[in-house]
Symmetry: C2
Subunit: 226 residues, 2 copies
């Protein structure tokens, strides 16, 4: 009977450990510099979308969960001068769940977009939940308003001395790789000074949100019925 019990215990341990061992074997590498770097790599960590009728809150949500966006500028490049240009930039408005709403960038004069901005600082930034697992999880097409995206127009300006630390902390916690980028590229902190906001999060066309409502939006101020 004792022999039977030992064999049983070994079998139980084997079955308990096997799934764990298999999981360790097949789990993908979690990149981006390791734990605690403040990013929502894992889709399970994404908080719920605010009520869609609170467009200002949805806009703040999208800005905070996204860590990159596409920026439109007016091209200064040969052959395409004056035409609209689009590029991808990393950004951050702060740590996950603690965003200020201000999109900060880490830019170099070597970038095409920055060359454009030096002549014409007007720009429009767009960010979409398609950048996260949200739309895939719910089966929303990237162009469906249910796969919420926002459009922020304004000007891109260098960050002032007083704002430098906030910009740096916001960016480096979400983009630790930036700390290693070569100083020969003359990186500087910039932000989008927002003048116009459109939110596409439901059917019926874009909702206009004022910068004031955008910056004042907090999760305590929910829409009707919340």
């Amino acid at each position: 009977m004792a022999g039977c019990a030992c064999g049983f215990v070994r079998a139980v341990l084997a079955f308990l450990l096997a799934p764990a061992l298999v999981t360790l074997l097949v789990a993908p590498a979690r990149g981006r510099g390791g734990r605690g770097h403040g990013d929502w790599d894992a889709a399970e960590l994404l908080p719920p979308l605010p009520p869609r009728e609170n467009a200002a809150l949805v806009a703040r949500f999208v800005t905070n969960v996204c860590d990159w966006g596409a920026l439109a500028t007016i091209s200064t490049q040969e052959g395409v001068r004056g035409r609209p240009f689009a590029d991808v930039l990393s950004l951050s408005d702060g740590p996950p769940g603690k965003g200020s709403g201000v999109p900060y960038f880490y830019l170099s004069p070597l970038q095409q977009s920055v060359g454009n901005l030096q002549e014409n600082p007007y720009a429009t930034l767009t960010m979409s939940l398609a950048e996260t697992n949200f739309c895939r999880k719910y089966g929303f097409d990237p162009q469906s308003p249910l796969c919420a995206h926002i459009i922020l127009s304004g000007t891109v300006i260098k960050v002032s001395e007083t704002e430098m630390d906030v910009a740096k902390n916001s960016l480096f916690i979400r983009h630790p790789e930036m700390k290693t980028w070569p100083s020969s590229h003359n990186w500087f902190f910039a932000k989008l000074n927002i003048t116009n906001i459109w939110v596409l999060d439901y059917f019926g066309g874009p909702k206009i949100v004022t910068p004031a409502d955008y910056y004042n939006a907090t999760s305590q101020r929910r829409g009707p019925g919340q």
Copy 2:
């Protein structure tokens, strides 16, 4: 002894089934209309990146794996007329692994970007591997050139009669939801007629690719040493 064996068998079955049951419980819903819709939802299905020195091939790869992008246009909207505007659009150049390189769109005159294009058809489309699992898997920051992105400039034009079927098939296989979009929105097929291509896939700045090299790129024509 028989009683001991039965209890053992039950315990074994329980341990075999438990991980499977837990997995079923926690597995996220695979959205986008079910299986076989021709999308690379699962990161494991993403094919390897072509050699980075073959910028044309990399550009074709990015266009094919992405199913949305950001389009820059010149704004015609009140208050921001003449300024650059950016928006998110779904797109497709064909089924996964069988793309033509032509980015097709499914547009409505109700969209802000389309209102802009009607006055000025110049546009720039940008797509990034940050839209897939690629950059996260390798720990590449979205703004790092290693997280390859491309910039395609040109004009957005309606698709001709002869090209209608190709556009429709390309789009609907990747975006089955489009088949349900309301006809009251007057959807039409469009494409980007590409005149300029920039590929940012490695350090050293953007690589210029001609449309001819872009459309002629096939996986049989690899870079040196491949």
